[in-house]
């Protein structure tokens, strides 16, 4: 079906030439949780782990959606700018 070039792909690098936010990428690498809160296995591939930490933002809060392949724990870790309590019900 395909007319694409042939051969097994092994040489593609990442499309890093399109990076516009190196400071945020640095912050992500620095702050992403490195160990599973449940079993303490490393999460990052760079640390020999097999887990995952996907970062998203809610206002100033940074949320890391984590998954640990060692114990299958999954949850969100939030770096919160402020801590808010309940507001009184009117």
């Amino acid at each position: 079906m395909s007319t694409s070039p042939r051969g097994i792909d092994q040489s593609f690098g990442l499309d890093v030439g399109r990076g516009y936010f190196p400071a945020d990428a640095d912050s992500h690498r620095r702050d992403a949780p490195r160990f599973c809160p449940s079993c303490a296995a490393p999460l990052a591939l760079a640390d020999g782990g097999r887990g995952l930490a996907v970062e998203y933002w809610i206002g100033a809060d940074r949320v890391f959606v984590c998954y640990c392949a060692a114990c299958h724990w999954s949850g969100d870790i939030v770096l919160a700018e402020r801590v808010m309590g309940h507001e009184a019900v009117e």
Partner: protein, 414 residues
Amino acid sequence: MLTAEQNDELTDIAPGTPMGELLRRYWYPVAFTRELEEFPVKHARLLGEDWAVYKTASGRYGIMPEACPHRRASMAYGVVESNGLRCPYHGWLFGLDGECLEQPAERDETNFRERVRAKAGLAQELGGLVWGYVGPMPAPELPRFDVFVMDGVRDIGWADLPCNFVQIMENAVDPHHVEFLHGRYFQFVGQQHGFEAPASFAKKHVKVGFDAFEWGIIKRRVVEGATEEDDDWAVGHPLVFPYNMRVGGANIEQMQIRVPIDRTTTRFMLYSVHAPDGIEFPEQPVVPDYNIPVFNEDGRHRTDYVEGQDIMAWVTQGAITDRTVEHLGRSDVGVTMLRRMFKSEMAKVAAGEDPLGTIREPHERIDLPCEKNKFDAGPQFALDFIDMASSRFSPQADALKKLHITAWEGRQKT
């Protein structure tokens, strides 16, 4: 946002990589059925490797690596025999299971044949497509999803896209893009080109939700003017893990198929079944397939139809989008859920388990949840769908519209 290593792992589909091993647990379309009727052997590229797909005179399908184990000539130019595929170069014959059956120029008394088994996969026909499985044996069953077996008029639009399949799958768990890419942007393009974009796509999303289920992720939405009682929320529609999305509405049932051809090429297929109630469907000896346009003559993306807009958004992210510099928000939680699902299923495969969506029991049909009343738009959605989406490029577009109008008129009379 991900690290570069995580992005690399998520997108690398080569043999031996975590994603490559996960993806090799599933069946993929590798040819249109009509192609092997026209000529019984052809080349196919799948998961970054090249294959020869063939059909024997007795109607059995086979798939094996394109390079002959002897001197690596292409088996896609092979001779289809009753029991396998013969290399056109020196006549080595390989059975459907990859066993080397003949080496015409070698002496019979050696055991050389036993050293050169080809890594054959399995191939089957279903719904106008030939499906291949190239992973470890025993193979799972080919899933007989509803759209591939239901009655109706079939129609397949397709295009090969220059980007990794994961960024296309992430779009399948991103409901918010609809109101802008297919709503506001469509209106803008229409204003420039002098046509009216369909209003149903522009409805504002009030709420979105995602549920993991046995075949992937069900995506739900409440659009302005609708409620949680409406189909878009109460039923939703699923991302069918790892490479499909089931959509539908107004008597059009569709599987959007995203075949990872290689790391930076994805075959995008829109497998549609037009199945309005109360009408007799015409015979279809051959399921029509047709190319949908990606670019205009000036090299810009063609964005005057729904899927052309999606394709623009997928491809312009880059061949492999750089997730180290993206900025996800709360509205992207479906994307984070999908990445986590890919990761957890990679872990299952590494542990020797079957990943999500593999089925080992023989079955007749797998029904997937899918809304009927799309965007609360009623029957007009079917005509909008044909006029403003990829079906407009179908050789049977006018006949499909007539089918829906006739069925609608019939239903009004009863």
